[in-house]
Symmetry: C2
Subunit: 419 residues, 2 copies
């Protein structure tokens, strides 16, 4: 039986030890983890094969099986990702700001680890190592709860990590996994506020809502992208086509993919046929409002009327909603109603309208003349990505290492009292 309170206590104890480590000590442990992931390849792949077999027996789709699958190359890639984390700057200990107060107190605000992170994720064994290494780098302990489809893989991966921690002289309990597939444990984890400081759900809208609605621990909601591109009438149409193609088709399964195109009425008749021709080879399926439908039907075989519900869809496929708007006000209005505050873009030659769009659209990332696909920790220069937050507190948009830290106010006096 999994004793979550016991896990929480151990994690908190480990977090205290981790918070006292130097960069060098943490990096040394990470190096050992990378080494062991490669050295223990055979054992890891054998355990992963059990998950793959179970997935086939349970009739899971090929795309899910592909996500579950580990290979020698993928394991090497995962080990290299750990080595990349070593190369990043450790935010812990950074002085954010400070000064001397009127009272004579010397005040500094200093970055510290958060403590214990809880992560709930789905069928991706690489997330196990990814999250563990980012938490370790920032001096946080972590409790991992992966999908039951990856239970054998997660178990061996965590064992490899714990062995590396032990070898490095660090507390093994810094990285723990709940491998028991009982779903009640998720609910229990969400109420472990005595020991866990932050919950990061990495998965679909259902998981995000479950965590948001039930957790007594602060939750980072994110990763759901109903993103829009608004083609304003002054936009360079040919160059716009390339941006839209990139945003929709470069990697449709990602949360920063565009799902709805908003086209200004005055250019719709000219622009939509070009768009249909451009996206034909990529087999993009259009879901169009009535005006767009009447234009697109002449040029594309793959067009259907869009439903209200589909406007709220995160397609994650080659499907694209197309909606005609009178102008920027209607575009902003549409995004406020249907967007998920992830990534929104305007294509325009007007500086004035670009500024208006940036000011009025409330989203983690707002683009002018660019693809929505850039919303990503790596692209934004953060070095790593813990998650993409679509909520507003603590961190918004791509979360790097800093989002795994908090701060303390350190005040040094000379037996100073408040007047």
């Amino acid at each position: 039986m999994t004793d979550l309170i016991q896990m929480g206590k151990r994690a908190k104890q480990a977090a205290f030890a981790l918070s006292q480590l130097s960069q060098q000590e943490k990096n040394h442990a990470l190096a050992l983890i990378a080494e062991r992931l490669e050295a223990q390849q055979e054992r890891i792949l054998a355990e992963n094969a059990k998950d793959i077999q179970a997935a086939r027996e349970n009739g899971l789709s090929e795309s899910i099986i592909d996500r579950l699958l580990l290979t020698k190359e993928r394991l090497t890639g995962i080990a290299d990702d750990v080595r990349h984390v070593i190369s990043l700057a450790d935010p812990v200990g950074k002085i954010i700001d400070g000064g001397v107060l009127d009272s004579g107190l010397k005040l500094e605000r200093i970055r510290t680890p958060l403590g214990v992170i809880g992560t709930i994720y789905e069928a991706r064994p690489n997330v196990t190592i990814d999250v563990a290494s980012l938490c370790l780098k920032t001096g946080n302990a972590v409790i991992l709860r992966g999908g039951k489809e990856t239970q054998h893989s997660n178990k061996i991966l965590v064992e490899v990590v714990q062995n590396a921690l032990q070898q490095a002289g660090l507390p093994e309990m810094a990285v723990q996994a709940i491998t028991d597939p009982d779903r009640a444990l998720v609910m229990e984890l969400l109420h472990l506020d005595k020991y866990v400081d932050m919950i990061i759900p990495r998965g679909g809208a259902g998981l995000q809502a479950l965590c948001r609605d039930n957790s007594s621990i602060p939750v980072i909601v994110g990763g759901i992208g109903v993103c829009h591109i608004f083609v304003e009438q002054s936009a360079d149409q040919d160059r716009s086509l390339a941006v839209i193609e990139n945003a929709k088709t470069q990697r449709p399964s990602t949360c920063n993919t565009v799902e709805t195109l908003l086209v200004q009425e005055s250019i719709a008749e000219e622009f939509l046929p070009k768009l249909a021709r451009r996206l034909k080879t990529k087999e993009v399926k259009f879901h169009a409002d009535s005006t767009a439908l009447s234009i697109l039907q002449g040029v594309s075989a793959d067009v259907k009327p869009v439903t209200e519900q589909q406007l709220r869809n995160e397609w994650l496929t080659y499907d694209l909603n197309v909606v005609i708007v009178k102008g920027i006000e209607e575009a902003v209005e549409h995004i406020r109603e249907y967007g998920s505050e992830h990534s929104e873009s305007i294509l325009t030659e007007s500086q004035k309208l670009a500024n208006q769009f940036v000011a009025q659209v409330d989203a983690a990332a707002v683009y002018v003349n660019a693809s929505t696909r850039f919303t990503d920790g790596g692209q934004f220069g953060l070095g790593a990505e813990v998650a993409v937050s679509t909520q507003k507190l603590h961190a918004r948009g791509p979360m790097g290492l800093e989002a795994l830290t908090t701060y303390k106010w350190v005040c040094v006096g000379d037996y100073t009292s408040r007047a």
Copy 2:
């Protein structure tokens, strides 16, 4: 009947309008609020008198009645506080960081309002204006839920604010109050995640726990201070006495007051009698562990054995727990077990031990040779204080205007696609 969904929709609509305002426009509205608070004194005091009468009829304590009471002087003070908020720098629009990415995208991270704030507080009518003015300054709409003891006062205060907003040409619904005392409305507010971005409870431990355990909206838990001072053996004892007296007696009802004194064993026999003599005139009552008890009994009339539960007490009175510890390890251990991660202090002449204490104690504010009473937005130079957070996400310790903002990533390209 109070329709919370309707209130939420209106608040969100108002927040959109507020987010587009300049500093000047927001300050103009604040100036009108201050003016009207003074001009409408008679009406406000008449409504406040109803709350006071009800409080007396319901047998509320004199200290609560004093908190409820508004006078001409207090109203002038409240209006002056609003004028002080005008003088603060508006964090909205501030560029946090930015640069040019490899892709050629120009990236900036810019402060924006959070959107809609929900505040739940107890019997203090001044909080109504305080929170409303800080939210308005940062371009946020607010839904206020004060205690039922202040319902008449809150109603008239919000009416005055709304009239000022209207006069300024701003949406009245930027500041709304739930004046219906039905407690079910609090639970409903905590689930209004579609419209409300952050909940700030300002009140006791029960209210904090209620919000933390039930809200689907991010909550800033805070304001509960079980603060410690550790007197290490090398400390200057006479100067330490002054700091302890300040931390316990300067204003005992505040969350940054010290509640437990940890004294190193080796100096207990010498130090505790001095302490008892020093605090005698302030009528401090001691709750001591067995060793401290045997020392204090000889010198103080007011000493009782401390219970396990009292070590977790936020006394907010002239009561002080006294516990003897072997050394810094035991002091840190005690604070980890009983502290509320608010404010913790060490008194010592040892730089090494001071550093150890700062590194090992996990709290919003950690002090060396200073009173815990400094944990306060004003003292820390933040200009204002929305709340004191004792959780680790978004904001920790005293929260100034910046804690009422989030940011967006603004990315400008030249029809840029991701490679």
